[in-house]
Amino acid sequence: MEKSLHIDADKCTGCLQCELACSFENDGVFNPSKSRIKVFEFEHGRHTVPYTCTQCAEAWCMQACPVDAIVLNLATGAKDVLSDRCVGCKVCTIACPFGTINYDKDSGKVVKCDLCGGNPACAAACPTEAITFIDSDSTGYDRMRQWAGQTGTIVSV
């Protein structure tokens, strides 16, 4: 069974462990600005919402890439950026309607969540189970995925 990140914002305390874990796993530094998962604050921290790529079926980023640098990872279901192919044109960053693929100035390439190859560091680091990695069927991401559909001018391809 394929697994997905499940985010339950109600359980998030805003501790930012996920951002630290993500940046450390991917860039070897504890630097939230490098994190591929972001925690957004509302009402001065009364609500916090972790937010990252849903690995949506439409894969807008992957479709838009002109050089085949974003590929479906058959093992994890994630859409992975192949850094050595990415030319840094950034067209995926405007094509993704969720804003979850971003340009990294330092590397000159784009970065996005790749589920850490099947063992997401953010979920492991989350102390309150606001972020869990569970069977895809039961994730609450359906609504966002529906949205992905709405963004499409393509209804049923």
């Binding site: 309607p97 001018t153 049923s156």
Partner: protein
């Protein structure tokens, strides 16, 4: 069922793949007149910068990719289409029959009507072949004049500047990327480039080009003359439709299509730069000539070419992202605003940061941004889902930089107990 596709750029290739996904048994023939494997023009600037080799521009990387999907590729030029015989004639004289035909022939650069545009040393930057010629003449220190600071011109500018050439840009209008960015941001891009050693002449026209010794003399509307080793023409492009003249397929600026990307002739479709498709923001039919639209068209056309897979095309969002020497600019949808709409802008001119949002009621309809890259895609998300911003509209009018918060809040219904609402 035999599908024939003319043009092996992104639109044609994505259409071929989609046709194969939807129907495993049809014959698919992809005809393109360039001598390389299908590649992406968009990648050319990165080739010029030496970031990638030519293979890096290929749309699909495995040598056997098309063969494995039973997509036959023919390197030939189509000279005419006969709708009566349902066939196309190739320049070699051969004829290929079709049941359904897709025209995805893209566009070609146009030249301004001035003397000397055909001289050796004057090049467009449109194909891999062009890229090779340009690379050969743009070594460090060589003098280059770039005609046109539109979107394509500015992308090439970036590549040329990083090759270390001595660069002068000449643009007819009063700012850079005038069809993508507004006055303020287009002006900022200009000063950004100037500070980095590029000469940018706006409100200026190239009057003519002449040979002078082994160089070119470029005369400008102000009477000034500049010497150049290479002149690059990026003044505009035109859809490749001339071979359709006697076909009965109707053409305006691009090929006329309906909401299914059907042309005026039965069983013939059009996609990409050659196609005058529907614009999401205006509902009008225009040629957008951008990569994401070519891909989307390819998918939609392929569905409609497949029995039982009809898809209505609601229109592509016009959007661009541009990096000029490290300054990233983006443009989305109705960035010039709409009648009766509202707008808000904020800027930090010293840091070259700028954001302008355009609304229709509490729906975002367009934007221009400079120096902002984080989560920039949500602008597309908000525009294309027509998500109603509710209380976040006013918050954005106060501080447009809260765009991502607005998106997450409205999408997740976090704040103020509001559930996400959409209207269409």
């Amino acid at each position: 069922m035999r599908h024939l596709i003319i043009g092996a750029g992104p639109a044609g290739v994505v259409a071929a793949e989609t046709l194969r996904q939807l129907d495993s048994s049809s014959d698919i023939l992809l005809i393109g007149d360039e001598s390389e494997p299908p590649y992406s023009r968009m990648a050319i600037p990165y080739l010029l910068r030496g970031r990638i080799g030519e293979e890096g521009t290929y749309l699909r990387k495995s040598a056997r990719y098309f063969e494995e999907r039973r997509i036959e590729i023919l390197q030939e030029r189509v000279s005419t289409i006969s709708t009566d015989n349902r066939s196309v004639r190739l320049e070699s004289g051969n004829v290929e029959a079709y049941d359904r035909l897709l025209i995805a022939t893209g566009s070609s650069p146009t030249s301004p009507p001035i003397d000397g545009v055909d001289l050796p040393g004057v090049h467009s930057c449109w194909t891999l072949e062009d890229a090779r010629s340009i690379a050969a003449r743009s070594s460090s220190g060589s003098k280059v004049v770039l005609m046109g600071a539109g979107f394509i011109g500015c992308i090439i500018l970036e590549a040329l500047a990083s090759c270390g050439v001595d660069l002068t840009v000449v643009e007819l209008e009063n700012r850079m990327v005038p069809r993508m960015m507004n006055q303020v941001s287009g002006g900022l891009i200009k000063s950004w480039c100037e500070r980095r050693g590029v000469t940018v002449l706006t409100d200026t026209r190239v009057e003519g080009i002449a040979s002078k010794d082994s160089q070119l003399m470029v005369s400008l509307s102000e009477g000034e003359e500049i010497l150049a080793d290479l002149v690059i023409n990026a003044t505009g492009v035109r859809p490749n439709t001339s071979f359709l003249e006697k076909s009965g397929i109707e053409v305006d600026h691009g090929i006329l299509v309906d909401q299914n990307l059907r042309t005026t002739c039965k069983d013939i479709f059009a996609a990409g730069d050659v196609c005058q498709g529907r614009d999401f923001s205006t509902g009008d039919y225009t040629v957008q000539a951008i990569q994401p639209t070519a891909v989307e068209h390819g998918k939609v056309a392929a569905s409609n070419m497949t029995d039982g897979q009809e898809v209505i095309h609601r229109g592509c969002l016009n959007m661009n992202i541009l990096d000029t020497m490290g300054l990233v600019s983006t443009s989305f949808g109705a960035w010039e605003g709409i009648d009766g709409g509202q707008s808000v802008e904020c800027s930090d001119l010293a840091r070259f940061r700028y954001l302008d949002l355009q609304f229709d009621g509490d729906v975002l309809v367009g934007a221009n941004a400079l120096g902002l890259t984080e989560h920039i895609g949500v602008i597309r998300g908000l525009i294309q889902t027509r998500l109603r911003l509710g209380v976040w509209k006013e918050r954005l009018m106060d501080n447009p930089l809260q765009l991502m918060e607005a998106y997450v809040a409205v999408a997740h219904g976090v704040s103020d107990g509001r559930k996400p609402t959409t209207s269409s």
